[in-house]
Symmetry: D2
Subunit: 373 residues, 4 copies
């Protein structure tokens, strides 16, 4: 059986002095042996993307009767500022309401230290290198948190506290959702093989480029480090994997679906030998993938009210309509209905959350140049 | 065939001087004869409740091939200030974002003039009374619009312009939606019979009390007038009917569903003889009703994330859960899952639009003491 | 010296389970004697109206060296849901962001119980009546808080908890601010004399009509009770006073100004003999008043950008401009500048917080038919 | 006298089909001679930053009686989507409410084409080079606007339309404001000399780095081009200047102040010989400057309510408080007042717009390592 512990992190403070906290759950194999990987799972960095909390609930329930080899840390409500911020009836999704900055673009990564690190550690063993680099990553974040006369933004303080925990892990899963969405997975190109162990129909393969997100913040350093050693003629594999797992639509809690998604994650963890003595196998399904550069947003060329026609997960032929746009102001003396389509086959993955759009609102995100995984 | 015309109303002006307009469609029987009722239909007074626009589209399409006896006015995008007000990804639903006032609580009705009117018109014929009172209602609104040194609020200016049109009608349909919702109908108690001609499973029977809404603003004056005449010993029937038609959920356009709802409305209009030579009959279905005082909102006793369990339109037994509330902060040392229920049978009609709730957020609205219509 | 104590009230719970609390401060004369009035002071019921918190800070500081006769309860951050709700850079002012309901319209008062109470207590002494009625008021609120299968709205739960404390008091001060505003006081008509002891230049005299606000919720019951006894031929005076004190502009904390306002309040409390051995006298200033029906909002007849010209506290002659409205869209082929005025003298008291207005936005609130107090 | 013309640009379309337009004013010397520079001035790209519209009004009024040599284009309400977006009482300032993207980070610049251009135009004359490059810049934007199967975001469509006009100019002035702010100027390092001709006390000197803003989008290409030619051994000066002019505080229209700022701009334009026969001289004042890297934001280490103490434009010594933070929740058993300061001298330039802050909200922006210009 595994050992369970719970910790409370202080994540923010509001105008009245109210403290916002985050519960952190740890599971460890007992008796403690050093074998096995360290896993970090968080949910709800974006306010409206709540379903990951239900998945963490189901993971904790299911893990009660499973054998862990290694260690698992689970963090629901990762961003309590966002998750408590109602905006009308809905929860404000993706950005700090004061600054507009996407909460998932505030993690830290500075590639500049890596060539120096490689230079200084060329003669060390693989284990020493991995330990030293892990420590460097964590120390860098600790410094950002503790030494800052000018302070940190609300989002940085949250992101850095989460990142500090994530940097202890070998595997990082950041649970998100789309607006109205199918399940999809952001996966580093080198970890493509692992994507087959999630029961997720769409995978976006992402390059070694840091744009501020949690997955990138935790795999880019190791990927870059590996490349840097390779350039020095040394082949070293770190086997770190980070994924952004998009669970479906925002603004929904469904505990039954959450159990399915928890099983999907456990299947992957079995494959990575974090779970032992399980018989979890990935569901036999068609898995599509495309490269990040081929994952495209389609913006509305007009304002109007949208009937979303294209289904998720089914290739849509060139010329087939994605949406019908209603423009009652044109009824009687113009076109009240507009069909919008593209001139090549795409795979629709998600669409906008509301039927009302301005000119330039993102309508759909689609795979182009997609292939079976 | 009917005669079609289109008009543009100026409904508001924004900071940049941008004018917000509303298209108004008129259909009339030709050659014009005086027979038949006058119908007024509007949609989208609340910003997020857009499906009524699609229903008006389908009504206009279907009416092209139907025989009208009387006159129909249709107003989509009735409140362009609200319908264009994005708040994050969603449209701000129900109130003026500056003042918080519900857009559908700004219509005007002053009961005080009615006893005086009755006194002055006791000797008139029924037709004369009806004509004079219609004129009085319209004149009152015209005065509010035109004589106001201190001005009108944004919502009053919109509401009064719509109400002025609605006061010309014998039948008023105000198309709304719930948040996430089944179809339901607000119907004055005296018009209960008519509710059977809509294909709508839930009817709320409302009393002769004005709370600012369009339906009340157009039926309360006539109901009160009738009562006042009755007290003077004169029995006079005006046969005015006003309904708020709740089409389902907000933030959705579905042109296929809209056609069904358009047929439901046309069925009612056939029954009222506004359409002739049609063979539209109401769908055979179980229709439930309750009185407004028995239509109850259930507020969350706690903050948390909600899995909405109770289905719409099925009686829910006492003790059966409406929702499961997830509270991950309590996992491990408290109750992470809470079931909430009531101690008597209810009929769930709609629920809140988001899974995240504060303590005190409305979770469900339900019928109690309901009965078959 | 007075005895100080502090208590924490639980006021709300958010989606993550975060609890929002309110500190409550009590000051009592010691050794305890029964003489003296009970005072209740709260601040920040509306989110953006924060200056009252600073005034409570200064009151607590100043009261350290003053002699209290009676008891004072002070509640800053009265509505932590509102005061923590950022909306862009600003704090969402006046209403529940989910429902639009004004936070200061959710207090409870039911006049129906009063005639019954009078009937039942006609033979009691004045002290017995006062004690019994106080108890009735508190019990009514306790019942609302504790017995509600369908629950309470977020705002009701907050309002009722505050009201329960306020019903213990003889004097209630609810500290608010306007948007951009001069100081002004809402004062029940019968307490006009007391308005002279605040250093506040504008007083609005309000009738015995309940519209949901804290001041009304605490003085209307007693005023009605007194009237009801008078009708039964019994003259009884309760000397309850409740005021809404509007401290100036929202979105500002100024601890220096707060000290002045604290002194103004202490001057009134000295006059009411809650403070003894002080030498506080009201500032010699021109105090204007008008009746609530003569306190008017002026709404913009057009959208545009506003240069607010009229100064607060100075009578503005008929025809003198309140504002200049800029409409650059009309430059070159229309009027780019519009002057707006009224046809009678008014006393401007506050104006809207932003330079950008829609058609129908409230521009100014002004006294008409005003007089010196 | 100059020749005046007005044009209307279509900038966006909302859900109801409402079109948002922008007026564009052109002034030209007549009879047309080719001499003189081309100037582009826009205002209100950020919704709440409205004062620039008033400055454009005053510029147009003053220019009626001045001699222009060259051409001036003026665009008020540059972003009507933002300027019409109310969020509570205020205008949502700086970002697209749907995506969170800063409206002034969506301009386009791609440095990659420049080395190729230099290679292809090495043998051309200075005039030919300037003309060809101007054409290239405009053509690039035209292509983005016209050839985009996947569409443009709301902000891109607005930004590109403005940028296309700005690329015709030699001088670009983008009129903004801070939240609560002193006047300040963003000035490219090479144009430092020109900053002395504005009556603005603070100048931030910015490097040749593109971060999406209008000023950068219009000067970076020319600066880079010049550098690229220099590397090829050719010295060529383009004399393009772009500034972001921060006029003071947001949410305010003040036509009197606007006239002063219009004079300040005209003084600069006289210096650049766009105006002739004028006697405008810059005001004699202390002008401070610092480099962009030394322009720092100070974030609140705690939640609370803020009394902003530090005045703008006066050096603040190390240890002197910027703010006092009130935390009433700590009164009686902790520190209710916190003073925050820095350990070196700074020059405060602007502060946050609201008194209520979360932990991590930007409190002040200050110059460090500043010097007299």
């Amino acid at each position: 059986m595994s050992q369970f512990s719970k910790e409370i992190l202080h994540m923010g403070e509001m105008a009245s002095g109210a403290k916002l906290t985050v519960p952190v759950y740890h599971l460890k194999n007992t008796p403690e042996n050093k074998k096995g990987l360290n896993v970090y799972i968080q949910a709800n960095m974006h306010g409206a993307e709540v379903q990951g909390n239900a998945v963490i609930f189901q993971l904790l329930e299911l893990l009660k009767s499973l054998d862990i080899q290694g260690e698992i840390t689970l963090v629901p409500y990762a961003n309590p500022v966002a998750c408590n911020h109602k905006n009308g009836e809905y929860t404000l999704g993706r950005f700090d309401p004061i600054t507009g900055v996407n909460w998932n673009r505030m993690y830290y990564y500075n590639a500049e230290c890596i060539p120096i690190f490689v230079q200084e550690n060329l003669t060390k063993t693989d284990e020493e290198i991995e330990r030293a680099f892990k420590q460097l990553l964590q120390q860098t974040i600790t410094d950002k948190l503790e030494h800052n006369q000018y302070g940190l933004t609300t989002g940085q303080r949250i992101a850095y506290q989460l990142q500090k925990m994530a940097h202890q892990a070998d595997i990082v899963l950041d649970l998100h959702t789309g607006p109205i969405s199918s399940k999809h997975l952001y996966c580093p190109e080198y970890a493509k093989e692992s994507a087959r162990y999630f029961n997720i129909e769409h995978t976006i393969l992402i390059p070694n480029a840091f744009d501020g997100a949690m997955d990138e913040a935790t795999f880019c350093p190791w990927w870059t480090l590996q490349n840097e050693f390779a350039q020095q003629g040394r082949d070293i594999q770190f086997n770190k994997e980070s994924f952004t797992v998009e669970l479906g639509s925002q603004e929904q809690i469904d505990l039954t679906l959450a159990k399915e998604d928890a099983c999907s994650i456990l299947t992957y963890l079995s494959y990575k030998k974090v779970l032992v003595n399980t018989h979890l196998a990935p569901v036999n399904m068609k898995r599509y993938a495309c490269y990040l550069k081929d994952y495209k947003a389609f913006y509305s060329p007009m304002g109007g009210m949208v009937d979303y026609l294209a289904e998720f997960g089914k290739p849509l032929a060139a010329g087939e309509p994605l949406v019908k746009i209603l423009r009652m102001d044109n009824y009687g003396d113009g076109d009240a209905i507009h069909y919008l389509s593209l001139d090549h086959t795409v795979l629709p993955v998600l669409h906008f959350a509301s039927a009302s759009v301005n000119q330039g609102t993102e309508l759909y995100k689609v795979f182009t140049n997609f292939f079976e995984l």
